[in-house]
Point group: C2
Chain length 174, copies 2
């Protein structure tokens, strides 16, 4: 348990500024004044759909009808967003959501970090936030479907592929 305690010891919805994240911020902006910028996490659902679309565009995802994105957000169990805050301005730099039965299982979808903020530990920070939230709801089985190039990323934060031979499977209408 101590491993997870360490992971989840940051104050709720706000990443601590006293560890590597602060360095990350400095690195990202070239700003050497530690007080000028921070990264925050939120579970609010009232996300500007155009801002979210812009974020998804930035990583090259296919566009989806905003009507359906809105519905999906409304019916997700958890909606997690990551923001860069500078003064009064905040910018959406990461997003993830999860469906769930509110009891046993949750499945994480649409994990995205803006390319300008990748490679700095922020994807990991976002996923820690998501896992912390799911854990606080007593969800014991968290799943996702990972594209080949991010399988190692998820392994690094404790996800296992095909445990005991269990296979993730897909069905699409033909």
């Amino acid at each position: 348990m101590s491993f997870w305690k360490t992971w989840f010891s940051t104050p709720e919805a706000v990443a601590t500024k006293s560890n590597s994240l602060e360095e990350v911020n400095d690195y990202a902006t070239g700003n050497r004044n530690p007080g000028s910028e921070r990264i925050i996490f939120s579970t609010e659902r009232d996300i500007d759909l155009y801002e979210l679309e812009e974020l998804c565009d930035a990583v090259g995802w296919s566009r989806r009808p905003l009507r359906k994105v809105k519905k999906a957000i409304e019916h997700s169990f958890l909606v997690a967003s990551m923001w860069q805050v500078r003064g009064n301005h905040r910018r959406l730099i990461g997003f993830a959501r999860a469906t769930s039965d509110h009891a046993f299982n949750a499945t994480i979808w649409d994990v995205v970090v803006h390319p300008d903020f990748q490679g700095k530990g922020l994807g990991k920070a976002l996923m820690k936030f998501v896992l912390k939230k799911l854990r606080s709801e007593e969800i014991s089985n968290v799943t996702l479907f990972a594209d080949p190039h991010v399988v190692d990323f998820y392994r690094g934060i404790g996800f296992m592929s095909d445990p005991e031979g269990i296979k993730g499977m897909f069905w699409y209408p033909h």
Copy 2:
């Protein structure tokens, strides 16, 4: 499309009696009177939790707190059950449920068919019912996590494992 049209042409919530299912029933019961028994499918959520537990016991699943099972059923997008009906009596012989964002994705959980009714095409019939229901809600991406011994079963009804290298991954609290 014609392939799926064929699959999904049975009347809603009731499997046709004019095909292999009827033979299946005869085989299962030894009853040679075709009118005496039928298999029906339902999406009603008002399932007797003890009857469901009995079904899950029959396939050797670990028991789960009924309070949590109740919550999971309440918060599932789709609850599908399969019943053997003889006269006024009906017996729960199969179950499945799905979580969903009501827009893009659904994930199927807890697929179970009573051992007395396995190997007769009823698991396939139950899954067809589930897929038909999900399709009618415009869900385009249906997923599940299959134990090794049922991977071929799901392949047989059109599920793919690891398409384009996408891996199903799991995280459990340590």
